[in-house]
Amino acid sequence: MKGRGVLTGVHFMHGDHACAEGAIAAGCRFFAGYPITPSTEIAERLAQRLPEVGGVFIQMEDEIASIVAVIGASAAGARAMTATSGPGFSLMMESVGLAAMMEIPCVIVDVQRGSPSTGLPTLPGQADVMQARWGSHGDYEIAAYAPWSPQEMFDLTVLAFNVADRFRIPVMVMADEVVGHMVERVVIPPEDQIPRWERKRPRYPAGDGFKPFLVEDEDLVPPMVHAGEGYRVHFTGLTHDERGYPDMSAETHHRLVTRLVEKVRRNASQMIRYDTYALDDAKIVVISYGCTARSARRAVADARRMGIPAGLLRLISLWPFPADVVRELARQADAFIVAEMNLGQMICEVERYVSQPVKGVFHAGGAMIPPDPILQAIREVAFHGPRAGGGKASAG
């Protein structure tokens, strides 16, 4: 049976299903994964949908194999993805570095649950956000996006594929159980309005002098050769030269790793996404992301109603972090508040770029932080000064 690739129209859709439809709409035709709550509905939906559109769904033996299969499919030219939650995300970490090192695009969806370890399988968390950035060994850069609605589960999955392909990096969609399991309106645009950034493709014919990792462009991204196109290409996790062959010299290593990192930093403006609410004249800036940002927006709206000049910066890209935006806000703000469903992760990043006190509203996970503790933090700062309450609060 041949199904529709892009389900153009207005839907009332489960967040995980919206992610799966985003993948299909982005042209993903390969999924390898191991089902894990609360991401299982992504695999379930793709197991049904991918065969309808001529794609491949494989349930692997574990998450280690899943990510490696995704890397292999991508090396052969497919848009490929896996989806998991914390425990599986941990197992995938080694090969996130492999994908970064070999510059093979891939999309990894982490529907975060209460953690560490097995934690709370059916309940939300946001404590994998630093792992997304630093989970594999070594210096590398990735992009990671935090959806706050089923609509963004769709939109950001499309973006993740585009960023992965355009810059040849692993890209994570850092969802959470609340957003993954919520049902809300999702508008899927017509197929010709789904943004598509392509991989750069080789400019030179196959032959003895061909260098698959030759970089000629300002963006530091080498064109990508796919397996089976007649080129002889060597992919390795070892430090390699422009030919792709291992080279154990300090110079080559420094040049390669610096380029992998610079490739993302130099192009960060194309990857960074954020949203603002009531920030224009805000003196108290709340920073939040994912499901927690929904409560933060309510808290900011309630604070405004009380006459408190609060505003919200919602991080859509966690990585690259929108440092310039935060620096700019530091020129107008008296204080910052970071609300997140962990015990203080992205707050460290905010603290790097501002000199004002930064107050945290934290919860270890298991239930979405409601608007009240965030409003409470805003009020404390407004009425008792930025250092009120000793800095770090717990929403528990």
């Binding site: 009332f12 049902v183 309510r298």
Partner: protein
């Protein structure tokens, strides 16, 4: 206008489907904002199950039901657990053959399962209840729910479900006329 609706019963009663269809009617066919969340036990059938719909004319921030404006309760356990959470002036609807309300409580009653059995399939009791709710609450248009039923279910299931919906709707109209 933020309204919180909770439908609760046991697994197998179609509580989640009823919530989905109601949410879809609001979000897709009435142009309102709506969020559905659900909770259920590990059992495939017989465990507790609830679906929660928040509807509003502005974007919905906090997506969960805290203090329901509407409670639709299809089991004694759901009644005991959720009846105290409702707003004082909440609209409370019970499955009258499955729920024995407290002596001082005066919820609206419908024999949804019995009416569904009259149509040949007790499994459509959820649509009977949805029809009753649609008629009594005035929160959603009949056509919107019908469209949601038509676009959600497999075509072969639509006629029976629409009939069940109409049965609940008309039961309410008749009861109110008495």
């Amino acid at each position: 206008m933020r309204k919180e609706i909770r439908i609760a019963g046991f697994g197998g009663q179609g509580v989640v489907l009823a919530g989905y269809i109601l949410g879809k009617a609001f979000a897709v066919y009435e142009g309102l904002e709506a969020v559905m969340t659900q909770s259920y036990g590990p059992e495939a059938r017989g465990g507790s199950s609830s679906s929660n719909v928040v509807v509003s004319d502005e974007p919905i921030d906090y997506p969960f039901v805290l203090e329901p404006d509407v409670l639709i309760l299809l089991s004694q356990e759901a009644y005991t657990r959720f009846r105290p959470t409702a707003k004082p002036d909440a609209l409370v609807i019970i499955e009258e053959d499955l729920v024995q309300p407290w002596p001082d409580d005066r919820p609206l009653r419908i024999p949804a399962t019995r009416l569904a059995e009259g149509l040949g399939r007790r499994i459509v009791a959820n649509m009977v209840v949805l029809g009753f709710f649609t008629a009594v609450s005035g929160l959603v248009k009949r056509e919107s729910v019908e469209k949601a039923i038509e676009t959600t279910l497999a075509p072969r299931l639509v006629p029976l479900n629409l009939k069940a919906f109409a049965t609940g709707y008309e039961y309410c109209v008749k009861e109110q006329a008495r």
